[in-house]
């Protein structure tokens, strides 16, 4: 490599050896001119003789840049041209490079050029070559902190102050009530989490440590459902679950290493847009998940949400081992999570869910202990939209919040209960209650409203004209009520997707753009397989959406999607309705009962409280 002699300005001749096209060379010439170099550009469609004549009469150049589309026969033309330059004695002092469609460094070298550039070469790369320096595209994002920067803390700078005094009072009362109510209660989920915590703390690998581990595991198993117990004791796994051979896991390591060597990567989305972009990945195989994650990382994803199966949430106890699940969702086992974490780019945020089912506290424990950055908790959604008993889930969630606080991991409060039919205002009332409880426990909540076309919205006609106003109203309402980070939840544009790939990518991309315009901190994207519910989500559909989002960002630039005046009216309505839900809940003086009775979503909305884990609460003595 030549020494960098950036200070010295070079003389460059650009030659389009092509009948028509010189656009690439024009762009490079402009870059070189802007950098202060002296350039000349011959027009296209000159014969070799004409070019030779011009060159022979021109002053000496440091570089000649030739552009040509390679195809059958053009290698001979380029080789002949080089020979002519050799014969004209040009080559003694001038470096000659070629670029264009189909050109590669190796092909250029085969023909005899001093350098070769393909069609994707940027003017910046050409400038680096002329100036004799290594071209650095930008920080390499794989396998290391992105440019030495740490991950973004989504909660930084937010005070969580509730801006409406009345609502604040209502929330305080509700939160205090439920914390008092839950104080002496425990659940099998909490007990298992405590055992697991102790198991994690064991560092002695000697006999005594192993013995203690076994004892603890025995106690753990005793608190699990029979299906989980059978898996531990006899390796008799529930249907559609099987062990992953160790060879696959070691093969994965090699794959990821090769990936790191060969991978091309783009800037993270969070650098291009205001909000961080997340993908949710849970194919059932931590190996396939890792492959998807690596490619998404290369595309610039900022964060990954590991999706676990809903079936797992219904059982007491989590399985052990590197396990495959044939179906949607990757099993929450320590080994699966360790594998995923092992290969995750250090700068990519990682969320492990814990918002439903009977294993919440343990799931948050896993998240904290195994290095996740975020979790997910919401007993309203978990009980009204995901089948867990409200009282059980409230107690579990409070324990989960304590774990989250102790590990200093933030968590989002999803509002997917909207999709079950629950009106937005009831769902949002739940978000605020969760946020208040979290803050009392020093945890870091992130509100997660949905941009969706939910049953409530369909029936109420609030999006009959456009998908902008009501979504904008949601954000406006939340921002008016509380100073909190907001993350548009899984996924943006829910229920607006069809199986048509283009439509799906388009709707997600526009929702992402809207979210960014509204100043949210993060967005979760859908794949274009979003509406396809019968099978596995492939990689390409994820990339579809990311490309779509890129295209919309580029299209919009600094322009904005602006809601109409209807958004303000809708926001006001939301706030009013939220207030009335909270008032009812506060007056009831029993949050669990409020949930059972439908204050936060009931039969009239098409939901009923879950029954998973009902009757499993016990009191501390």
């Amino acid at each position: 490599m030549r020494k960098s002699d950036k200070a010295e300005k070079k003389k460059i001749l650009c030659i389009p050896l092509d009948p028509v096209h010189d656009f690439g060379l024009r762009m490079i010439k402009k870059k070189l001119d802007d950098a202060g170099h002296h350039t000349a550009l011959l027009p296209p469609d000159l014969s070799i003789e004409e070019i030779s004549e011009q060159i022979s009469r021109m002053p000496y150049f440091d570089f000649i840049l030739v552009s040509r589309t390679i195809g059958y026969g053009s290698a001979e033309i380029l080789a002949n041209f080089l020979d002519i330059l050799d014969a004209l004695k040009i080559r003694e002092k001038t470096q000659i490079a070629v670029g264009g469609m189909g050109i590669s460094k190796e092909l250029a070298a085969e023909i005899g050029f001093d350098a070769g550039f393909d069609a994707s070469t940027t003017p910046e790369q050409a400038l680096a070559y002329i100036e004799g320096r290594e071209y650095v595209e930008g920080p390499s994002f794989l396998g290391q902190e992105r440019n030495g920067r740490t991950k973004r803390d989504l909660c930084q700078g937010f005070s969580y102050a509730v801006k409406d005094k009345l609502i604040d009072t209502l929330l305080e009362d509700i939160a205090d009530q439920v914390l008092t109510w839950s104080k002496n209660k425990t659940t099998p989920g909490i007990e298992r989490a405590k055992i697991r915590e102790e198991m994690f703390s064991l560092t002695d690998e000697n006999l005594a440590g192993q013995d203690r581990y076994r004892q603890l595991e025995k106690r753990y198993i005793a608190l699990c459902d029979s299906s989980i117990q059978r898996a531990y004791m006899n390796s008799d796994f529930p249907p559609r679950i099987r062990k992953i051979p160790g060879t696959l896991a070691s093969g994965l390591k090699e794959f990821v290493n090769r990936f790191r060597e060969n991978a091309s990567c783009r800037k993270p989305f969070g650098e291009k847009s205001a909000a961080l972009l997340f993908a949710q990945i849970g194919s059932g195989s931590p190996i396939m998940d890792t492959a998807h994650i690596k490619v998404c990382e290369a595309m610039g994803i900022d964060g990954i949400i590991t999706i676990c199966p809903s079936s797992g949430a219904r059982n007491e106890g989590l399985l052990k081992g590197l396990l495959n699940h044939e179906g949607d969702g990757t099993l929450l086992t320590v080994q699966n999570l360790v594998l995923i974490k092992q290969h995750l780019d250090k700068a990519v945020l990682w969320l492990v869910r814990a918002h439903r089912g009977l294993n919440g506290p343990e799931a948050v424990l896993y998240a904290g202990h195994l290095g996740a950055d975020l979790s997910k908790l919401n007993f309203f959604y978990g009980s009204l939209g995901a089948g867990t008993d409200p009282a059980r889930l409230i107690v579990d969630t409070i324990a989960s919040l304590r774990y989250a606080a102790s590990y200093n991991i933030a968590f989002d409060i999803p509002s997917n209960d909207e999709l079950c039919g629950i009106p937005t205002y009831k769902s949002f009332a739940g978000l605020l209650v969760m946020a208040k409880i979290s803050r009392k426990l020093q945890a870091k909540p992130i509100l997660k409203p949905l941009f969706c076309y939910s049953p409530y919205i369909i029936f109420s006609g609030k999006m009959s004209d456009n998908f902008v106003d009501f979504n904008a109203a949601k954000i406006k309402a939340l921002r008016s009520l509380i100073n909190s980070p907001i993350w548009i939840g899984e996924p943006a544009g829910f229920m607006t997707h069809t199986e048509d790939r283009i439509q799906s990518a388009m709707t997600t991309a526009l929702h992402i753009e809207l979210a960014c315009n509204l100043g949210v901190q993060a967005v979760t994207m859908a794949s274009t397989d979003e509406a396809y519910s019968r099978g596995v989500i492939n990689l390409n559909p994820r990339l579809d959406t990311m490309k779509g989002a890129e295209a919309v960002f580029r299209f919009m630039g600094k322009c904005r999607i602006e809601p109409t005046g209807a958004a303000d009216i809708l926001a006001d309505e939301l706030m009013k309705d939220i207030k009335s839900v909270l008032t009812r809940a506060r007056d009831r003086k029993d949050l669990a009962q409020s949930i059972y009775e439908g204050t936060f979503g009931g039969k009239e909305d098409g939901v009923s409280p879950g029954r998973g884990g009902r009757g499993t609460l016990s009191e501390w003595i």
């Binding site: 490619v295 998404c296 990382e297």
Partner: protein, 89 residues
């Protein structure tokens, strides 16, 4: 249903998209061609290759009925008309 029958129903072409784990765009392109040949397609092209991560995203197109072909679906349609006419007679 026989293979030829199936393809007779395709209006013009068949697009296949996938993601290949491979070293570079060149290899991805070669794999795309190999795949289409393996699937038994004679005519077509690779529409798009895009290196992403440690592999390449590709979209391939097999031409089933080119504009200057006699499309199977037209002949098929004609056959059905003929059969219908036979029955009427």
């Amino acid at each position: 249903m026989e293979r030829d029958d199936v393809f007779a129903h395709v209006l013009d072409g068949l697009d296949i998209e996938t993601y290949f784990i491979c070293r570079n765009e060149k290899e991805g392109r070669a794999l795309a061609f190999a795949l289409m040949t393996e699937l038994g397609f004679q005519h077509g092209d690779v529409i798009m290759t895009e290196p992403v991560g440690g592999g390449v995203r590709v979209r391939m197109r097999a031409v089933i009925h080119a504009p200057n072909d006699r499309p199977g679906w037209l002949e098929k349609g004609q056959k059905e008309v003929d059969r219908g006419n036979e029955k009427k007679r």
